[in-house]
């Protein structure tokens, strides 16, 4: 006899694909199987075990005591607080965290990588031609993988969202699509493409520029290797009914040319003259895209927001570890998973932050308060966003510790009470 419990239609936040078709098997409150399994998803779910502790200065305390102490600390530091939105939070928890930041006149930072942030700034300058992922699958007949092989970091992107399945307008699946790949230095692109090209990093932007010029009707007639590559790619793209350009918006092996995102954006836009086209910017998981969405609707800006003056200001030029050390902050609240060796944790180590999130009590950082919570989508219900900003239902498969949203809402109440009491 088995005590296995099956939970269907579970959403995985292991990468930005946000596959919501997983079946999770649970036995004795541990995840024993995830199907269909991809390596990123397996690592994301693991056995679903997370600690359940509430600590103050490393010693166990009650949740209420921890929340009251934290509320006092934060209110005393009002105007000099930093709130860091880490990974693995539901959108509901993110909303509560941003409301706290507003109350505390805090600065907010997010998991948005510097590379992804540069891409978002390019979108703010140029706009973009995009799609939700299903359009790639349903319409894309020519794909251009620009310095990326999605299989490693986005394992089901090819099989579920793009080249392999049949689509409403691509009835032959993979056979109905032409794939091109361009490797750039250490950024190796899909090997199994129908045509592959290799560029050195210093050729990249020139080729993108030449492709775009060609698409706009201004082909440069030159007998050079890169002109020939650009001509072949632009010819193929021009023949598409719907071209899909794919790149990795997150940092990769090759140092990112800061012009890549904008060059791809403007190329995808230009392609909509002769045909239809869109750019897919692959994003990492943990609902970091949701944090950008919430920040946008509550502040107008997707990251790097500062409430110090009593309203949101955009400080995209002022990010990363430097603001932690030079920002003059007196209190820091990290919510969500903060990778112990990640740049955020390292930067925050000297500040003795408070942590609210999955595995907070195990973080490798000295803390004032640590409150363990569930992981969004494993223990915590709510909403999370796919890389294309499609909001997804989260169906928890395990009962975990308290939910991050509940703790943050309780903290917001305590902060309000503290503010009222302190007049």
């Amino acid at each position: 006899m088995s005590s296995d419990r099956i939970v269907e239609h579970v959403t995985c936040l292991g990468c930005g694909c946000g596959c919501d078709d997983l079946t999770v098997t649970v036995a004795d409150d541990r995840i024993t199987q995830v199907s269909p399994a991809c390596p990123v998803g397996r690592a994301w779910f693991a056995d679903g075990q997370v600690p359940d502790r509430v600590l103050a200065d490393g010693q166990p305390v009650s949740l209420d005591a921890a929340v009251s102490r934290l509320a006092r600390t934060l209110v005393e530091a009002r105007g000099r607080c930093l709130v860091y939105l880490g990974a693995d939070l539901s959108t509901q928890a993110q909303r509560a965290a941003v409301s706290l930041a507003d109350l505390l006149n805090a600065a907010i930072e997010t998991e948005t990588s510097a590379t992804a942030a540069a891409g978002l700034l390019s979108v703010q300058r140029r706009g973009r031609a995009g799609v939700t992922l299903g359009e790639a699958r349903n319409r894309g007949d020519v794909f251009l993988f620009w310095g990326v092989d999605p299989r490693e970091r986005y394992p089901r992107f090819l099989a579920r969202y793009s080249i392999e399945p049949t689509g409403t307008h691509v009835l032959d699946g993979r056979r109905g699509r032409h794939l091109m790949s361009v490797s750039i230095g250490a950024d190796k692109a899909l090997e199994s493409a129908d045509s592959s090209f290799t560029l050195s990093p210093d050729q990249e932007i020139a080729v993108l520029t030449l492709i775009r010029a060609s698409i706009l009707g201004n082909r440069v007639a030159a007998e050079s290797e890169i002109a020939a590559i650009a001509a072949r790619i632009s010819d193929q793209l021009s023949q598409a009914r719907y071209a899909i350009l794919v790149h990795d918006a997150e940092p990769t092996a090759e140092p990112r040319n800061p012009l890549r995102a904008e060059a791809l954006i403007t190329l995808a836009q230009a392609l909509n003259g002769p045909t239809r086209a869109a750019l897919i910017s692959l994003r990492a998981g943990g609902n970091r895209v949701g944090a950008e969405s919430v920040l946008t609707w509550q502040t107008g800006y997707p990251f790097a927001v500062d409430y110090a003056l009593g309203y949101p200001r955009y400080r995209p030029e002022r990010r990363g570890g430097a603001i932690v050390t030079t920002g003059g902050y007196r209190a820091a609240l990290l919510v969500g998973s903060v990778s112990a060796n990640g740049p955020a944790a390292q930067a925050f180590a000297a500040m003795r932050p408070a942590l609210i999130g999955p595995r907070a009590s195990e973080a490798d950082v000295p803390t004032t308060i640590s409150i363990d919570t569930g992981v969004a989508g494993i223990h915590d219900e709510g909403t999370a966003y796919r890389m294309d900003e499609v909001p997804l239902e989260l169906r928890p498969c395990l009962t975990g510790p308290r939910s991050a949203a509940d703790v943050l809402q309780q903290l917001a109440l305590a902060v309000r009470a503290e503010l009222k009491a302190s007049g």
């Binding site: 978002l120 799609v131 107008g300």
Partner: protein, 544 residues
């Protein structure tokens, strides 16, 4: 004395739904509703000499959608110029700061709508795939009751049912979709044209032009969805953005669309953008209003263009592409799988631009040629024709011919020859008519029995204005706004910000639909059928 009671004493009441046109009366509020009387000693607010109307009802706005959020993100330069510190609420620690511009942040949107005396707002175009996002934004938009219209006019499943002649299944699907995503009305944007844009056909220009490879025309889509909305008994059966938005000569397709649905209730939105004669640019407002005036089943909102900044946000992707090419501004296009599209271009409407001046004039002509204010609603298609914050200036143009004629002298006259406005339209809207086009009319067209009027049983949504000869100033700063019985604006200041209620419907459908729909989802959708419906929506559906 019970809490929740309030007597509004001595105001001059404009409550057109109850036939009250500027009469001095007391009004009574108890537990969030209008009541016929209250015992002596109930708390009293003296509003004598002031003008009292129901709370405003915006039938067509874009304020809470994934598309709006893409647009918000696109214009940080607007937000930087318009910081919005938290208002001074009675409970100050519930107040939220934000930023403004043409697409303010959610809390600021709620505060600013309430600050204009509006208490109900509909987002007129949401992609069902992102409905969860719309509801989250509405949850963060206080002070106004809100609902969403659900985009269906280019939906792949629906197009397949139409092609197969499965009208009943199309109707069941429309009902399922509305129920699943917490919607209020069926929305059609550029019927078939968005699918044409996505499929490489670029666009459809007439209502009998078929989609490539499919035996479906815009007429079929209009007919099927208007039929479904009417058969389901939806209070606002179908909300239509016609083909060819913004193109010279589009009056023909607009009139053909109206005629195609003759005899059935249908609302045609932002008709200003659909009232252009041709060839070249000229006004065809009189032809549109001639039809509307003589067909009581048709209603419209105007979609007035106001000079100044705007952000165009629409599911009508092909239009935004043309706007991008002609304006040179930044451009977002996002095609949304199986359902619809999304295009965004920020713009500035300049009075020295001939086409913009014509658009402005056409909007005013539509208002001024209307014979039945109950069916011609005030809108700017916020933020497409201008921000909702420009409503007071628009009201002034309608009520004050002097101001209107002065403004007309300042605009580029090049394309205004032959327009009724240039020939001189003397009409001035009365306060009663303004109350109709901003409250009573839209509430009636939406079938909101508890809104848009002040009779017993109505929601206690009330706006009180201090009289002011400057009409724009008067409408931009109500003295009091009451929302569901809460005194939201007090002495011109926002003091309370209660959460809004969700206005949604759950029409029934034949569950025989579901097995086929599940197979379709499994074949083509990237979201699981089981996860598609939005759960845990705020507030129960309204009864049908």
């Amino acid at each position: 004395m019970k809490p929740g009671q309030l007597r509004l004493a001595g105001g001059t009441i404009y409550d057109p739904a109850n036939g009250i046109d500027g009469e001095v009366r007391d009004l009574f509020i108890e537990d969030g509703r209008m009541v016929s009387t209250l015992p002596d000693g109930a708390p009293t607010l003296n509003v004598s000499g002031m003008i009292v109307m129901p709370g405003g009802v915006d039938i067509h706005s874009h304020l809470a959608s994934a598309s709006c959020n893409h647009a918000r993100r696109l214009v940080p330069e607007e937000h930087v110029l318009d910081p919005a510190p938290a208002p001074d609420l009675v409970d100050q620690y519930l107040a939220r700061s934000g930023t403004g511009g043409t697409i303010p942040t959610t809390f600021t949107t709620g505060y600013r709508y309430a600050g204009l005396g509006y208490t109900s707002v509909f987002d007129a175009a949401i992609a069902p795939l992102t409905a969860r996002h719309s509801h989250a934004e509405l949850d963060d938009t206080p002070c106004v009751d809100g609902g969403v219209f659900v985009l269906m006019g280019n939906d792949e499943y629906l197009l397949r049912q139409i092609a197969a002649g499965e009208r009943q299944r199309a109707q069941d699907y429309a009902a399922w979709l509305l129920t699943s995503v917490g919607g209020y009305a069926i929305k059609i944007v550029n019927p078939g044209g968005i699918e044409a844009w996505k499929a490489g056909q670029r666009n459809l220009s007439g209502i009998d032009e078929p989609l490539d490879g499919r035996s479906i025309t815009p007429r079929d889509i209009l007919d099927t969805l208007a039929g479904a909305g009417n058969a389901l008994g939806l209070p606002h059966p179908v909300h239509i953005h016609c083909n060819n938005l913004g193109m010279p000569g589009n009056v023909e397709v607009t009139l053909a669309s109206m005629q195609a649905l003759s005899g059935r209730r249908a609302h045609f939105t932002h008709v200003q953008f659909h009232s252009y004669g041709g060839p070249g640019w000229k006004s065809a407002a009189s032809r549109i209003m001639e039809y509307v005036n003589s067909h009581p089943e048709v209603s419209v909102d105007v979609g007035q263009v106001m000079f100044g900044p705007a952000t165009t946000i629409t599911a009508d992707g092909p239009v935004e592409y043309l706007l991008y090419r002609s304006s040179g501004r930044k451009w977002v296009n996002i095609d949304i799988e199986l359902e619809t599209g999304c295009g965004i271009v920020p713009l500035v409407y300049k009075d020295k631009a001939a086409v913009t001046a014509l658009q402005w004039a056409i909007g005013l002509e539509l208002f001024l040629l209307s014979q039945d204010p109950w069916r011609v609603v005030l809108s700017t298609d916020h933020p497409n024709g201008g921000s909702f914050l420009s409503y007071p200036a628009l009201i002034q143009l309608l009520m004050d011919r002097g101001v209107r004629d002065e403004r007309l002298k300042q605009v580029n006259p090049k394309l205004l020859a032959g327009s009724a406005l240039a020939d001189g339209l003397a009409r001035e809207y009365t306060l009663n008519e303004i109350a109709i086009i901003t409250r009573a009319g839209p509430a009636r067209l939406l079938g909101l029995k508890h809104k848009g009027h002040l009779g017993p049983g109505a929601d206690a949504d009330v706006t009180v204005y201090s009289r002011d000869p400057d009409i724009a100033r008067m409408f931009s700063a109500p003295r009091y706004v009451i929302k569901g019985g809460d005194l939201v604006v007090e002495e011109g200041q926002l003091r309370r910000a209660p959460p809004g209620r969700r206005l949604r419907l759950a029409p029934g459908y034949d569950e025989a639909l579901l097995p086929d729909l599940r197979r379709y989802f499994e074949a083509y959708s990237t979201v699981s059928f089981a996860n598609y419906p939005v759960r845990d929506l705020r507030d129960a559906p309204l009864p049908l």
